[in-house]
């Protein structure tokens, strides 16, 4: 691959159709970023990572679609596997709400939490629609995938992409990845794999995700909000403040009514029938 140049947008194309669930990405990420392990999470499937969090910046989701009674082979649909990661959203919910300015967009167009600026308010955790961030218990700050910021600065691709044996995780300039992804989805459709679809490669989802996916099912099946539900936190500013304003006006009015009533104890008894409304 050509040299990694600042000023260009880099990201991941994660092609879930070839993921074999080996977790090499998880291991490589932990090794490079010196992330501690934690208690395995035992659920229904083969996933013992549980969720993305401060210590797990890649997580292979195992989605069990195995029917109770099998009449035929799974045809690649019985198990869906997907190596999940921070999407490095173009319009990032986490960055939008962060009050300290700790979350920045780097020269590689990735979304990066500066560990020395973050004060651990956890507003970004409330905001990220993909359940990516949590707070590191020991360091007290919010952590997530950095797109291997340090490796990029040293002209190396991120550890997970390097380790992935099936090229399910591809790293590169976002525009090139998008082209490759569109080609891939066309090829799959030509082969009759009609359920293949791209998620986040165009601006429909948070202005475009720098880490986007080829999925084999609806986005919701992978815990990714669909187009209608991928909305930024700030959508609620206007309604929230207007609701507060309306309440403030009515509240002050109520207070004034309570005070005025006492001045003319009898006269105004019928005057304000709509008091609290």
């Amino acid at each position: 691959m050509a040299a990694i140049t600042p000023g260009r947008a880099y990201g991941f194309f994660t092609d879930t159709s070839v993921c074999i669930g080996c977790k090499a990405c998880e291991v490589a990420c932990k090794e490079w970023n010196e992330l501690p392990g934690h208690e395995p999470a035992f659920g229904d499937g083969y996933d013992n990572t549980g969720s993305l969090d401060a210590q797990n910046w890649r997580r292979v989701q195992f989605i069990d679609n195995v029917p109770d009674e099998t009449m035929s082979a799974g045809q690649g649909k019985a198990w869906l596997m997907m190596s999940d990661v921070c999407k490095h959203c173009k319009e990032a919910s986490c960055m939008e709400v962060c009050p300290t300015g700790a979350i920045i967009r780097t020269e590689f167009d990735s979304v990066f939490i500066q560990p020395d600026v973050c004060n651990g308010c956890r507003n970004c955790i409330a905001a990220c629609p993909y359940d990516v961030i949590t707070q590191d218990e020991d360091k007290g700050v919010a952590q997530k995938c950095t797109l291997c910021y340090d490796r990029l600065q040293g002209d190396m691709e991120p550890a997970c992409a390097k380790a992935c044996p099936t090229e399910s995780i591809q790293f590169g300039p976002v525009d090139e990845l998008r082209e490759a992804a569109r080609q891939r989805v066309t090829d799959l459709h030509d082969q009759g794999v009609t359920e293949a679809r791209l998620y986040g490669e165009d601006s429909d989802i948070y202005g475009g995700l720098n880490a986007f996916f080829l999925l084999m099912d609806e986005p919701e099946a992978y815990r990714l909000p669909n187009k209608e539900n991928a909305k930024l936190p700030r959508r609620n500013n206007l309604g929230g403040y207007l609701g507060t304003l309306g309440t403030a006006v009515l509240g002050v009015l109520g207070g004034l009514i309570a005070l005025r009533r006492r001045r003319e104890p009898v006269a105004a008894s019928q005057a304000e029938p709509e008091a609290g409304e």
Partner: protein, 322 residues
């Protein structure tokens, strides 16, 4: 927004805002609400209402004191609390203010409101003769009115923005409604009126204003009830009603409703008048007993219930998504 029956999709994790934040919301609401009520009494009440107004300003200040501490303790890095105001990003250092992030706006509002609450507190001390501070004279005329009004607007903001802060996220329940800011504000007002009623017993001179406080509390409770209904309706539409109102949170909502009961009951039975407000009238046997009993009931137990409801309401909203 177009009505959609499909359930809103949420895949987020919760931010672990728990006890510190609960009590911050509670106290900030009471502080802002008390300032507002105190200002209403000072500007629109009569002379006799001045003691309750000062009481309100005392409460506004004292309730606000723990707030910065609670917020700081909640941080993962408490010593970096000042990063909220000063962005330390290398090469991009400067004041930190984002009008679209309620947490950022709230920090600044809290600081400015803190200044107003402090001024009002000192002014009340001077007027009560507990402190000598000649500069306070400046606040006697129009300037005082302007200051009180701006402070009250900030108080309204402080009491309500916390709900907007929750809504500006992608959390279930919180981000599914526009009603949270109003709901917190209304419950702050009813809670503040109740708290002042509770404290009247320590300030005899303010007792004359009790009836007005009782009537305010009723109207604020009605407002709060309307907002709870709106809140519930917005959640029903988003399909997250069950998260906020399901078991065990339902129990907290029951406490919140119990806190509304005195106000709503008073409104239903006696509208804007207060029974027992003519103690001078010749009493027949039973009303003597009532008069002895009423004070404890109406001046301690019921206000305490209202306050408990205010706390329970916030707890239900905060904890149900965790």
């Amino acid at each position: 927004m177009i009505m959609s029956l499909a359930q809103a999709q949420h895949f987020v994790s919760a931010p672990d805002w728990t006890w510190y934040i609960l009590f911050y919301f509670f106290l900030a609401g009471l502080s802002g609400g008390s300032y507002v009520i105190a200002t209403l009494f000072r500007l629109r009440g009569d002379r006799a209402d001045e003691p309750v107004s000062r009481l309100g300003y005392y409460v506004a200040f004292v309730a606000l004191l723990p707030c910065p501490l609670l917020l700081t303790l909640d941080l993962g890095k408490p010593l970096r609390f000042w990063h909220m105001m000063w962005n330390t990003t290398p090469g991009d250092a400067g004041l930190s203010f984002k009008y679209w992030s309620p947490m950022s706006v709230g920090v600044w509002a809290l600081i400015i409101f803190g200044a107003f609450a402090t001024v009002a507190f000192l002014e009340a001390l001077v007027r009560d003769g507990k402190l000598r501070l000649p500069v306070v004279r400046l606040l006697e005329g129009a300037l005082g009115t302007v200051v009180a009004v701006i402070g009250a607007v900030l108080g309204l903001f402080i009491a309500g923005y916390t709900g907007v802060l929750l809504a500006v996220s992608n959390q279930p329940v919180w981000s599914d409604t526009w009603a949270l800011g109003g709901l917190f504000l209304a419950s702050s007002l009813s809670g503040s009126a109740a708290l002042l009623l509770l404290l009247l017993r320590y300030r005899q001179a303010a007792l004359v204003s009790a009836d007005k406080l009782i009537v305010s509390e009723r109207l604020y409770s009605l407002l709060e009830l309307v907002l709870i209904v709106l809140f519930a309706l917005t959640l029903l539409q988003a399909g997250t009603f069950g998260i906020a109102f399901g078991f065990p949170w339902l129990l907290l909502w029951l406490v919140a409703f119990a806190g509304l009961a005195p106000g709503i009951y008073g409104l239903a039975t006696s509208w804007l008048t207060v029974k027992g407000e003519e103690p001078a009238a010749p009493a027949h046997a039973s009303s003597v007993a009532t008069e002895v009993r009423t004070p404890v009931m109406t001046s301690v137990l019921l206000p305490a219930l209202v306050l408990l409801g205010v706390l329970a309401l916030r707890a239900a909203v905060i904890f149900s998504i965790h």
